[in-house]
Assembly symmetry: C2
Homo-oligomer: 330 residues x 2
């Protein structure tokens, strides 16, 4: 690889695609965003992905750069080894051989990855976990997912489905999760679960707040229109001492601590990096969570608990790392 | 390595040491058992380990074999990279640099490993998981621990404490575990927990069996003096339709299914191998457990659930594999 080489990187989500040209040194040279518009069906989404990737490669060449590789990351179950998007509810993919389609169209060596594992890879190698050999990256947004990164590589599992921290049992008598099972961590501690639970408890009161709290433009989750009070606002109200907000927030923090303690018992990492919307609650999350996690660890070593450093560019940076990694192993 | 080379292998437990000479082809050439007698203190235990290892090496030479390497595995927290037995309650070890002590005494390249991880390694490479690339080995006896083996190597964690499946939360309102936290899997589904729970429910009937109630906290399994009804007997009584036994067994199976579902969500393995005393319950365990696990898996792929194939030699075989592996990487 030479100095003028860049990776074309796409982080495809249910709503939008974050796209970038990223240098071999990790420098972000150029960024773009495009709507995914998943409702159009998987074929149309694939067409958009390929067109956007081609446009980025063209843009690189126009700027005198050489697009050396392409990295695409998507949510759901991703078989990195075969380059297939196995199952992705958000994007509407089911067994899409995206790596082959993209490399055929662009003529570039292409890597297909999982969005959270790619984000974890970037945080572990370039972000908040960069001094640790064993990192667990946990993304808490509409859902909860994790990436276990050891020695700069994220474990994928045999079917590409490893790291589903949102779907571990923490409350056998808890609410039913989107996956159909009761008591999953995601059903209690995701940003959308926190917002929903607060809405349920405050009943009509939540509806009354809605007018005044929508001015920051954020919603409870990308797909939720049910209540206008976001998880971040619940955190703020909890910090201000509001009773119901405090209760919902405490329940979420305790469930999250249970989930992280389980992960630590199994993975034994040095650092846990928290990303996604909920992590933006800052000390309102990290202080009580650190205490609750410490309470749960007996013989296990306590991991560092730190906020993600790369923001919502982590997935794109990870896609670029995956793209560039494959050049090194050729 | 040549055909006459053997590994000297020791699997050190709280009660006894399983010892063997194992050929480079995995053939067990010779076995011995010795008491650990951990009550004598760590120095005496180390002395015994070294003397036994030396005796085995001498025995190999007397038989015309060449002891090429030494592998020792112990329970607890083991730092394989540094060769230190960090913490082992059963054996009484705390930061014992066993690899260095052994290699100095015997003059052989020495590997120190963790007993369950070594057992998992052996099952994954030579036993019930030998056709799978991603294996979770779960040992269920007095406690519960697991080894996650990918591509023939067991993940250790940063401090050597990975795989503590017994200490994940499954029942927040459940019994207090030996580790001090409520609701750990081990407190409900280990062989000792099953025996204890049955004893509690059957009340005086169980108490009458136990003339020596030496409740040292560590001895509630098959070797317990607290109750004469073992987990295997509870399984048999459950199969015969006895009501309390059925209840205790069902609770254990369901907790175990919850624990395995959590592990599968995080690891996404192809095969789960169950070993240890409880796995000897056979179809009485595997049939209901397979059904309960299937009920809990929604989007994740169902792993194969199979009994361990190597019996109680797995730890020793794993110790030999660790010993021989280090010769290959030299």
């Amino acid at each position: 690889m030479s100095v003028g080489d860049v990776a074309v990187a796409l982080d495809v989500g249910g709503t939008g695609m974050k796209c970038a040209l990223i240098g071999v040194d990790g420098a972000v040279v150029h960024t773009e965003r495009h709507p995914t518009d998943a409702g159009r069906g998987p074929d149309a989404v694939v067409d958009t992905i390929l067109a956007v990737a081609q446009g980025l490669a063209g843009r690189a060449r126009a700027d005198g750069l050489t697009p050396a590789a392409l990295g695409i990351v998507v949510p759901g179950v991703v078989d990195e080894a075969r380059g297939v998007a196995v199952w992705s509810a958000n994007v509407g993919f089911r067994d899409v051989p995206l790596r082959e389609l993209a490399s055929a169209r662009l003529g570039l060596p292409t890597a297909l990855g999982h969005d959270v594992r790619a984000g974890g890879l970037a945080e572990a190698r370039m972000g908040a976990g960069r001094d640790a050999g064993h990192v667990l990256f946990v993304a808490i947004g509409t859902g909860i997912a994790a990436a276990h990164v050891v020695a700069g590589s994220a474990t994928t599992g045999v079917h590409g489905a490893a790291g589903e921290l949102g779907h571990i049992l923490v409350r056998p008598d808890g609410p039913v999760c989107g996956c159909g099972r009761p008591g999953c961590l995601e059903a209690i501690a995701s940003a959308s679960a926190v917002a929903r639970r607060y809405g349920d408890l405050t009943g009509t009161a939540a509806a009354r707040f809605a007018d005044t709290t929508s001015d920051d433009g954020s919603a409870a989750g990308p797909t939720s229109g049910r209540t206008m009070v976001t998880a971040a606002q619940v955190a703020t109200r909890a910090a201000a001492g509001e009773e119901l907000a405090s209760r919902v927030w405490r329940e979420a923090v305790e469930a999250l601590a249970d989930g992280l303690a389980t992960a630590q018992a199994l993975f034994d990492v040095e650092t846990i990096v928290l990303g996604g919307g909920l992590a933006q609650a800052g000390t309102g999350l990290f202080d009580p969570l650190r205490t609750a996690l410490r309470d749960r660890l007996t013989f296990h070593r306590e991991p560092q608990l730190v906020p993600a450093a790369l923001g919502d560019e982590a997935g794109c940076l990870g896609a670029a790392l995956l793209a560039l990694d494959q050049l090194e192993t050729r």
